[in-house]
């Protein structure tokens, strides 16, 4: 009974929750339970070392440090239910802090000897406890979320944990380049394969031929079957290593628009993996959606496919995908829908009179949309002569209105703030766009900066990309000359302080519709996005995705270069929380929002969230220091 209670508790508390049931039970046998009344000094700095790891069951403790050589005592941390203390002295042989119960506190004590055994048998436990890296945190968090995935019973393979080698057909038809088409077909029939790999003289894959290629390139094209297979094969072959995660292979197939890839082991051919394999693996593949989208020839056909694509998120979540991968796939699918509508618009309105470039803005630009929210887009077209101006403007007016309406039909709502190309302000020739950016950067006002942020995250999605690069170069040159602009960004960033309360607790909405809720988008996602943007613009980095921006800052001279790992994992974590939250709402038929309830989170999730907030605070403090002359 006492043991059951302890096991129940530990199985909800990291890192113990990652231990197998029998081990947890055995561990519980060695526990004792202590009570520390409020005010008790449990461990004293420079006093006797802890003989136990203490796991707080109820209450909370304060950890303080008296600096060497005197000075005022500083509070290092607060720990509460589910958190531990006593570790450092247990491992380091010296009690460096003072630990006082700030409430009546009950804790489980894990004896030193048992703890040492655990450390040897499960090194991850120490790693977790030491919390040197947020890295492990985020990984375990996503694993945890995956484990308790509410949505579906998951007996099927995991797309995101399986390696492609596990699902690839072990055997495949291999032919040489001069084999005839007929012989190749015979071999495939005999060997019951849907594809044949064509290899070069040294056995390296040079091409691939699939059932559908026979249909399209041989039969339909009237190709003589005595010719060499190299005439009709697809090439080059995209190959992946057998150890690559399935997810990456799917993404590669999406990006290259192919449905077969060769799988290699240390460079040598092992087999072929097809879109079909993934369909079998997970029921419904992102690739299948992408194909559905590609096959549509009318807006009426596209709309339902596009709306249905949202269901893919459920599949991805169930597979335990990393949040940042999920949003990349969503972006990839959304991009395809937008390009398709652009294609229809060009058909509808006639060919564009001058080159143009379609821009995705804001979260769409950063490829960080979770669920389809609203449209954020703009259009740049090439400069035109005075004479042509009215005519060209009229073309793009019709064109962008078609786009807006078409995208609404496909499930992308119109932007309430009218950040859409159909707004004439945001459908301009390149010279006008350059003027906009010049004004924003050289004469910033708080309001203008806030409004312009979405444009600094633009991404060319279709059309003449040189227009977009031209614009990016233009403002990239301006920024170093106007430090006041970055000052404004910094100012905005530090004003959105994380809601961390005194006891290290997270403050929530006190009243209203979202009582006890925390706005994850505003309080957690936005600050991380703003941090990445500020430092990317500061260093003239071209990337727009938050993860890409952070990656580009890694190892550099930026203020946050050393914090890249932690920022990436914090971003990964809050994104995952948000995606999960919204998906649950979607499943329950509720309106989608960004308010999460803290009491619905596990200990680990709460701790990770607090870690993210502490990290944001830390960066904000550094930003304040660096930009202090601009901070109002």
């Amino acid at each position: 009974m006492l043991i059951d209670e302890a096991v129940r508790f530990l199985s909800q508390v990291p890192p113990f929750q990652f231990l197998e049931g029998p081990l947890l039970r055995e561990l519980a046998q060695s526990l004792t339970m202590a009570f520390h009344p409020k005010g008790e000094v449990i461990l004293q700095q420079d006093g006797p070392i802890s003989e136990h790891l203490q796991i707080i069951l109820k209450g909370g403790v304060k950890i303080t440090l008296r600096p060497e050589g005197g000075g005022e005592e500083v509070v290092v941390d607060y720990r509460e239910r589910g958190e531990t203390f006593g570790l450092v002295s247990l491992m380091g042989g010296h009690q460096r802090t003072t630990i006082v119960a700030v409430q009546d506190t009950t804790s489980y004590l894990l004896p030193k000897a048992r703890f040492n055994e655990l450390v040897h048998s499960h090194p991850a436990i120490t790693e977790y406890l030491l919390q040197f890296h947020l890295t492990k945190y985020a990984d375990m968090t996503s694993r945890e979320i995956q484990g308790k995935s509410l949505f579906l019973e998951s007996s099927d393979h995991l797309l995101f944990t399986a390696q492609v080698g596990e699902i690839c057909q072990q055997f495949t038809t291999i032919v040489e380049a001069d084999t005839t088409i007929r012989q190749t077909a015979r071999r495939m029939v005999e060997e019951r394969q849907s594809a044949a790999l064509v290899v070069g003289p040294s056995g390296e894959p040079i091409g691939i031929l699939t059932d559908s290629d026979f249909r399209a390139r041989v039969v339909a094209a009237g190709q003589p079957v005595d010719g060499p297979v190299s005439q009709v094969m697809s090439h080059p072959v995209v190959s992946v290593d057998e150890k690559d995660p399935c997810f990456e292979v799917v993404l590669k197939m999406l990006q290259c628009d192919i449905d077969h890839v060769a799988v290699t082991r240390e460079g040598a051919i092992r087999g072929v993996v097809t879109n079909h394999d993934f369909l079998v693996l997970q029921g419904r593949s992102p690739l299948a959606f992408s194909e559905d989208i590609e096959h549509q020839t009318t807006l009426e056909g596209l709309a339902p496919v596009s709306r249905k694509a949202m269901s893919i998120i459920g599949v991805l979540l169930r597979e335990g995908a990393r949040a940042t991968n999920i949003i990349r796939i969503i972006s990839e699918l959304n991009d395809r829908v937008v390009r398709k509508v652009l294609e229809f618009a060009e058909r509808e309105c006639g060919p564009p009179p001058v080159p143009y470039c379609w821009l995705a803005l804001g979260s769409e630009g950063r490829k960080e949309q979770t669920f389809r929210t609203d449209q954020d887009n703009a259009l740049i077209y090439a400069d035109v002569s005075e004479v042509q101006r009215a005519k060209v403007a009229e073309y793009f007016r019709r064109f962008t209105v078609y786009l807006r309406n078409g995208l609404v039909q496909c499930g992308f709502e119109a932007c309430p703030a009218n950040y859409m190309a159909s707004n004439p302000d945001w459908c301009q020739p390149i010279s006008a766009w350059k003027r906009y950016f010049s004004t924003w950067i050289s004469e910033p006002t708080p309001e203008a900066v806030l409004k312009s942020l979405i444009f600094f995250d633009f991404r060319p999605l279709h059309g003449d990309e040189t227009l977009a690069w031209d614009l990016r170069e233009h403002f990239g040159r301006l920024i170093p000359d106007y430090p006041v602009f970055l000052g404004f960004l910094a100012n905005m960033l530090v004003r959105n302080r994380p809601p961390l309360g005194f006891f290290g607790s997270v403050a929530v909405e006190r009243s209203g519709e979202h009582k006890d809720g925390l706005n994850l988008k505003i309080k957690a996602v936005a600050p991380l996005v703003d941090i990445a943007r500020l430092f990317a613009l500061e260093k003239g980095i071209q990337q727009v995705s938050t993860m890409d921006r952070l990656e580009a800052l890694r190892g550099g001279t930026s203020l946050i270069s050393d914090l890249v790992d932690e920022l990436e994992y914090a971003f990964e974590f809050v994104t995952l929380l948000r995606v999960h939250h919204q998906y649950r709402q979607l499943e329950a038929g509720q309106p989608i929002d960004n308010f999460i309830r803290l009491d619905g989170l596990s200990n680990l999730e709460r701790q990770s969230l607090k870690k993210a907030f502490r990290l944001i605070l830390k960066v904000q403090d550094q930003v304040m220091d660096r930009y202090k002359s601009f901070i109002i």
């Binding site: 009974m1 006492l2 043991i3 004792t32 009570f35 009344p37 009950t106 004590l109």
Partner: protein, 235 residues
């Protein structure tokens, strides 16, 4: 030295031997359940106990036994304990259980809520089985409560209007979680946590060793302590 003599020496039974500080004491916190309240007629049907080393409760070292009673259970007891007669039919007799329980409590101070009742049954059965009665030092949490309340300590639990608080009244007052279904081991666990909360308060009041603990926690003094603290008696 026999077990009895050793126990006596170690635990200061009979007023002799070393007076150990509380943190060095080993405790057995126990609870027993009976077919009824009459020691002449009723039987023990379950014993639950656990060890504490000083103020720490040991999770992995508990004693729980259901006991086959001499007489058939009547319906009343089934309602109270949720134990059915057939459940007890296959259990060991009190004689067998006492043998292992004696080993379990050897060298420890006994702790219980209204402990004299439990000890009354246990020692009656020990005598019937021709065993040595339990002569361990004994501390009653109800006596401790009464004594602490008389010292009017600041804990708000002592201001409650509870003339003769049950274990569960006290558990609620000291915010100790209690499980729905009661069992001897479950109640012993609650008692242990109550005792655990009393220890720092006792320390504060100058009670830090076995002799002090025995003085203020004497099972025979529970009524006296409570009555004195109330200023009037309900008994």
């Amino acid at each position: 030295m026999g077990l009895r003599a050793w126990t006596r020496g170690k635990l200061g039974w009979g007023g002799s031997g070393a007076d150990l500080p509380i943190q060095e004491l080993r405790f057995t916190v126990l609870d027993t359940e009976w077919t009824g309240l009459d020691p002449r007629r009723d039987d023990i049907i379950s014993i639950g106990a656990l060890h504490m080393q000083g103020s720490r409760i040991e999770l992995g070292n508990t004693f729980q036994e259901l006991v086959k009673p001499r007489a058939i259970l009547d319906g009343r007891t089934v309602v109270i304990h949720g134990i059915t007669p057939s459940e007890l039919e296959t259990r060991p007799t009190i004689d067998e259980v006492l043998a292992s329980f004696t080993d379990f409590v050897a060298g420890t101070v006994l702790v219980g809520h209204c402990l004299s009742l439990d000890l009354g049954f246990l020692n009656r059965d020990a005598r019937r089985s021709r065993r040595v009665p339990f002569r361990n030092a004994a501390v009653d949490t109800l006596s401790l409560f009464g004594w602490l309340r008389r010292r009017s300590l600041e804990h708000r639990a002592f201001t409650l209007e509870l003339p003769a608080p049950s274990l569960f009244d006290l558990a609620a007052a000291f915010e100790i979680p209690v499980e729905e279904s009661h069992s001897a081991i479950g109640d012993a666990y609650v008692t242990a946590q109550l005792f655990q909360r009393f220890l720092p308060l006792l320390q504060q009041a100058g009670v830090g060793s076995l002799s002090g603990l025995r003085r203020v926690g004497d099972p025979r003094r529970q009524l006296a302590n409570l009555a004195a603290s109330d200023g009037h008696t309900h008994f």
